[in-house]
Symmetry: C2
Subunit: 364 residues, 2 copies
């Protein structure tokens, strides 16, 4: 019920993995996939950082022909394919798609970590990605591409290891999590945590917090889209016209139910909780005087893509990031994407993204 | 745990109460409160219609000195008090503050109706209010005042009984519920319904769906306010700095927890479900060619108050209502309230409301 086993490649660290909070993961395995050939110089790498519900399977491949979560970004005419890049996408540490996370066995106990997994941070996630690159022998600066949580990871990577990041494309990425998004995420966690079947994280296939995880997903879906899209798409269309709340159903409810059901068979509740909380903890200026000061010494060339209907990462938040990166002396461009899809436009508006991505990769 | 017994007056119908869906309530009792004297002609009545979580206790009184949910609208210099009105506020049918609802005993079984209560509609709620007025001997046209669900009730009342409504003031009121708000409300209901202690509605004080009702309230609170207010008020303030999702807590989470806890000791989950669903069913143009056609023959003088930060009832939805009422030939004014409080400004911005209310009641 929890994580699905994808036919991804696995890389295993030889060493234990120290975390930002001082705890240590005794073992680290990372599931990853690649597309395109690595150049002789090893200088054509694009690393894709996935968001909350993603996996290493960004695109289809010979090994796994199923469409990926960003499929059109590696379409026939796409800049990533046409540019001859070696694209890497790895499941983030704490994930449930093959990389070490709460569903992995704790070698100390022989049982799954569950909620006993350390609270990984975005920095930990970046370090795991960097270990993978090192393990794969990639020592040239890379291009980073990601949206939402993926974009937050990119900002940390740029901040902590500026020379490793040649170019960065961040979609729907704020400089910090503010109260409102913390509130939205925390009620999603509440939905899981208050399901008795969550059982302190010790659920299994026979007693799985389906209701809680489905509700978390449904709350999430509402924040990922826009009122306009919902209203245009579903209007007041009815699925079951009976009036009583136990029976009647609008189409939009049926749609959300379907999204919830699809999610519970593919995602692990504990991973959801760890990733959700890690995003709450995100504040790129923490320990610095300002967002700009946090990028002192960074020379990454940056493209920021902001979505006009994004409720979670509104344009002013990306403008703040843009201004700070300029202040820090970076070469940075902010482009606005027009979309009805809200935050999810970073996944859905692949035509616009390919356009911006092509312009950015070809210039400079 | 469920409803609180307020020291309100009670009026009991002599007859059974037929509902819009064809079902019949064998008994109808209504809890109500009044402020100010009824004039000799009986022509100074203002009826306040409460919203989802309200009660008859709009203002404090000698009988119940506790502050009401709209206290400042009957303050020392308020237009309602200064204008010498006879103000009536009754708990809506289906409610949990003294009026017949799911916590009432079904005379057919001797047990509480619970989820066996008929699905009341906004029209049913209006008819119950009208019966109360008739029972109190009020036969002159009245002024109606309400926000959110209260405003929806006013629109139905104007539509179905135009001659009874002399003036109407609707705050944060849309012409219909659209998919997005249906979605937001339906996930609040999911939170209650998926709590095992809801038990098909047959909970009691010893096994009460606290977690579900608290989560519903927390989801609601997020939609009632604005991102700006949350972000300014709570920033990234921390309550418990431990990183793990089971332990760490931001101030905004603590605030929402508090709101949830306050709510579960004062509200009935079934009433929440009935009212929430009744709002989903709201479409003032249903059965008519247009919103304007729905008000054909109505001569009520109307004030619409729209809130610039209202996420649930955005300005364009109130502009649509405004245009339709003009098209129908009504004398109607739309005023914009500037506020950081989102939808809840209809409860909180009492200074602005009093100002608009005073101008409206004195004019025309």
């Amino acid at each position: 019920m929890a994580a699905q086993s994808l036919p991804a490649k696995r890389w295993r660290s030889e060493k234990e993995f120290p975390l930002e909070n001082g705890q240590i993961l005794p073992e680290l395995e990372i599931a990853y996939e690649t597309w395109g050939e690595l150049s002789d110089k090893g200088d054509n790498v694009v690393v894709i950082l996935h968001a909350l519900s993603g996996s290493s399977h960004a695109f289809s491949s010979a090994e796994n022909p199923e469409a990926g979560w960003w499929e059109e970004l590696y379409g026939e005419e796409s800049p990533l394919r046409m540019g001859g890049y070696h694209v890497i996408c790895a499941n983030i540490v704490g994930g449930c798609y093959g990389t070490t996370g709460p569903t992995s066995l704790d070698p100390g106990t022989g049982a799954p970590y569950a909620a006993g997994f350390p609270q990984v941070t975005l920095r930990d996630m970046v370090e795991a990605q960097r270990l993978l690159l090192e393990g794969l022998g990639i020592d040239q600066p890379v291009t980073l591409l990601g949206g939402s949580m993926g974009g937050m990871l990119i900002l940390h990577w740029m901040q902590d290891h500026p020379r490793q990041v040649d170019r960065a494309i961040c979609l729907a990425t704020p400089p910090r999590s503010e109260s409102f998004t913390i509130a939205l995420r925390s009620i999603q966690r509440d939905a899981i945590l208050s399901d008795p079947r969550y059982a302190g994280g010790l659920y299994d296939e026979n007693s799985f917090p389906e209701a809680g995880l489905a509700l978390a997903r449904k709350i999430g879906m509402i924040t990922y889209r826009s009122p306009e899209e919902f209203n245009e798409r579903f209007g007041r269309d009815v699925k079951d016209p009976r009036p009583h709340f136990l029976e009647g159903l609008y189409q939009v409810q049926s749609y959300l139910d379907h999204q919830g059901k699809k999610f519970v068979v593919r995602f692990d509740p504990n991973t959801y909780l760890y990733f959700s909380r890690a995003m709450d903890l995100f504040d790129i200026a923490a320990g610095h005087d300002s967002v700009a000061a946090a990028f002192s010494g960074c020379e990454t060339r940056v493209l920021l893509l902001s979505i006009d209907s994004d409720f979670l990462v509104p344009i002013p938040h990306m403008k703040e990031l843009h201004a700070a990166l300029i202040e820090a002396g970076l070469e940075v461009d902010l482009q606005l994407m027009e979309s009805r899809y809200g935050h999810d436009a970073f996944l859905l508006e692949t035509g616009q993204i390919n356009q911006h991505l092509g312009n950015f990769l070809q210039s400079g």
